[in-house]
Point group: C2
DNA sequence: ACATTTGTTGGTCTACATTTC
DNA sequence: CGAAATGTAGACCAACAAATG
């Protein structure tokens, strides 16, 4: 383009030429065709793709690479910045720039090969379908069933919004029915929120290990996630405040109960402290409380302490039935217009028939029975995990749908996932849940909720136990 | 920050000080607090919001404003650029920068006050619910109904994908069932496509007047729309090519049949020509063929001439029933992974129960009967419009769900919409459908498909006819 | 405590492309 | 046609800010 890359002539740089050695990484591209920063971006993308750069590798400092290429260092800044936005690398002032740990890792957890024992995905436990089936019969027998399909808004004796506020009230958060929206599930609610309340480039804080579905939707909408540090109780309030001050996060995503994947549950004081920070910095809190129905605690959600700044999601898929795809979303009035618009723009509306079934279940008390059974089944299954993996560090509340296993020294999560897979078992490693950079815990998530038959669970766990005692033996593979 | 704004001292500018007069618009902000370009952005936002800057107003040239503020002109470039991305203004090299026509106009068309005669929204005609009701009864009577809710993927004799490929085949496009996805309606399919195949900042070409739902989802995902010129037959192929060369569009959004809102239908040669360009430039074609069931033509869609580059959407909401929320999406194999991911990230999956009802309707022939009836009803209603508005320029095929009315000299679309509203009728003006800048046609869209009772249509049209002959008489209002 | 290393940000400069007159 | 007007894009520079030792 307009610049000649003539290293000798570049006097302003010549005194620094000796300051830097050869950069640890060098982008290969043809000079003179197209902009430099773009060339660097594609070189970086390629080298990560082909394994020349590996997760955690440190890139040369901007000034060093700039000197080597004979350009101003902010040109490198620009290139690095783009790569960072693509999630390939992450930079820390004073420290350096590093290849992201998940740069080359599939971050979804929705797919599993059918022949594997599925200790990977989190499902609703399908143990008893009696109530569901009754509700369906009840709904379909009503003369008005056609209305759920023919009309946009069928009339019913109490509104879905009231059903939703009643549902949310179960979890110690009292909201006005007018503030309740109905979405097609939790994931859908997250998509609506990110699309309607945030813009590409905005930053949202979240635990360093977070729900993969949230990572995906954030990456699709161009929203940057900022890792906030945690300890055994979950998010550390001071670290949230830090993220506000330093990173300028606009929102905060939390799962207060049974955080996915670490199973942390926020204690009461932290909930209040976080709400305090949310209010102080005017954050938009996105609280995903899908797991609260398990009843491990009776604490009010963070949203209840900062309702004006909060979006609170509580879905029925996990609690009642996968097929329902109904989640309730609380939003304060200042967000109503945006959320309405978002819901409309993504999918017009949720199926009224499904909403009616969910409403029926909730109104006639079947929901309570279903939840009770699921809680007991979860408890039973978790006990099996704790028994078979006794002696290992297994985290999780009594009734969670999954557990978090800290691996022995010799393993990394990714290695263990791979070996388990070869042994016929699907688990998901810490790597998949990582946000940004930082130390990756050696751990895997073990789901107890996807398999149909408890014998499968036992068989799978027994194999995992053997694996845990062994050493990583990776199959031969390139890259 | 780091710069002092001392106009006198700025020698490099002093010779130019006399070249420019006072800028036609001046941003008001406090110097020294925060970056200049951001201050300009908020000043601009505010002035548009409060009506100080009106749609179509020309902003001062970058150099002029820069001189006035005593900064480098590229700082203004930066501010303008951000505003352009926000959709507030649009700039043309050599010409200037202008406030967008839709900067302050609600671009949604989903809301209508209940007391108005709704000639605004486009609905499915709900004339006959017999078939739908039969299908629901049939589906619910099957013993396996619970499976639609309890399982993720109920077994059926032929797959929904095959149902989808059969449906698409009706519209002269033969596709492999493996390439068919099921989404929760057309709007949902568009959201999935934009989220999974495009990134914030990407550009997509579309007709200068386009579907508002597409505008909204593009704006939410940070995707820029580029207006492509049209004539009475719709998109002009040469203009599409121009958009490729000049704007570097990555995708192209089209409605080949009954383009919303202008009712244009692309003739055969244009379809081939556009497909040619799509292939030549490797564009991603997004073809929204929701209206083809009306059967105004029997032309194959553009996608059929460039299947490797095309995403073809054909929904059932308009054709069968609003409540179904099922659309079929064809995607070539190279996009499968992305689309799958996108569907999963937005909403997990579509309601199987609804899919089953749609499938039943399609398989047992009811769909044909429903469509036939809708076609006839549409024809009947359009005839009424053409009769009552005879003498005026009304565009539309025999069987469309809406018509496009060119207004007489004295009216602009926005004025007419406002006056019609005061007279109790909702119509949507050309302004709502505009992409970017350019001349705004004086026209409104008149929907024939939202009202229940034809008498309402007649009453509404009669009032509109009187209005057309009158002069704009705007109610007193500020801004 | 303070200098060093490293990344970030706001503003500027230069070449250039498109449109208008 | 060519000069003027106007917007665009890539690179550069200087001040700043966080982390490290």
């Amino acid at each position: 383009m307009y610049y000649n890359f003539n290293d000798e002539d570049n006097n302003s740089m010549s005194d620094k030429t000796f300051l830097y050695g050869n950069p640890s990484w060098q982008p290969h591209f043809e000079k003179g065709i197209g902009p430099i920063y773009k060339a660097i971006v594609s070189a970086l993308e390629n080298d990560i793709k082909y394994g020349i750069l590996k997760a955690g590798d440190q890139l040369p400092p901007q000034r060093e690479l700039a000197d080597f290429l004979g350009v101003n260092f902010t040109t490198i800044t620009r290139a690095y910045k783009i790569c960072e936005q693509k999630g390939l690398i992450s930079a820390i002032v004073g420290k350096g720039t590093f290849v992201s740990v998940d740069a080359n890792i599939e971050s979804t957890t929705d797919d599993t090969e059918p022949y594997l024992i599925d200790l990977g995905r989190i499902h609703s436990l399908n143990n008893n379908r009696k109530y569901l089936s009754e509700a369906i019969v009840q709904v379909t027998q009503r003369m008005s069933v056609i209305n759920y399909f023919a009309y946009d808004e069928p009339k019913r004796h109490i509104s879905y919004q009231e059903v939703g506020s009643d549902w949310i009230k179960r979890f110690y958060f009292t909201v006005n029915p007018d503030d309740v929206f109905i979405t097609s599930g939790t994931q859908n609610a997250l998509a609506v929120i990110l699309l309607s309340l945030f813009q590409p480039g905005d930053k949202i804080g979240t635990t360093r290990l977070t729900y993969t579905g949230f990572k995906s939707i954030a990456s699709m909408t161009g929203i940057q996630l900022v890792a906030v540090d945690t300890d055994k109780d979950g998010l550390i309030p001071d670290m949230v405040e830090r993220a506000c001050q330093i990173d300028g996060i606009k929102g905060l995503y939390i799962m207060p109960e049974c955080q996915n994947p670490t199973t942390c549950t926020l204690p009461a004081e932290r909930r209040k402290a976080i709400a305090e920070i949310v209010r102080k910095y005017g954050l938009i809190l996105i609280e995903d409380d899908t797991m609260s129905f398990l009843g491990n605690t009776d604490l009010p959600p963070v949203s209840s302490f900062a309702p004006e700044n909060s979006l609170y999601i509580n879905g029925t898929s996990k609690a009642l039935s996968v097929g329902l795809r109904i989640a309730f979303l609380y939003a304060p009035s200042k967000f109503h217009e945006y959320i309405k618009q978002g819901i409309y723009n993504i999918d017009l509306t949720t199926s009224h028939f499904n909403a009616e079934i969910a409403a029926t279940l909730l109104e006639n008390g079947s929901a309570d029975a279903i939840i009770k059974e699921k809680q007991m089944e979860a408890e039973y299954r978790n006990q099996i995990v704790d028994d078979i993996l006794s002696g290992y560090q297994v985290y999780g509340n009594k009734r969670d749908y999954f557990r978090w296993l800290i691996l022995p020294e010799q393993w990394t999560g990714a290695e263990f996932e791979l070996c388990a897979r070869s042994a016929g078992i699907q688990v998901f490693s810490a790597e998949r849940f990582m946000v940004g950079n930082g130390p990756i815990p050696s751990a895997v998530r073990i789901s107890t909720s996807a398999i149909e038959d408890v014998r499968e669970l036992k068989a799978g766990l027994t194999i995992l136990r053997q694996l845990l005692a062994a050493s990583p033996k990776l199959p031969e593979f390139v890259i």
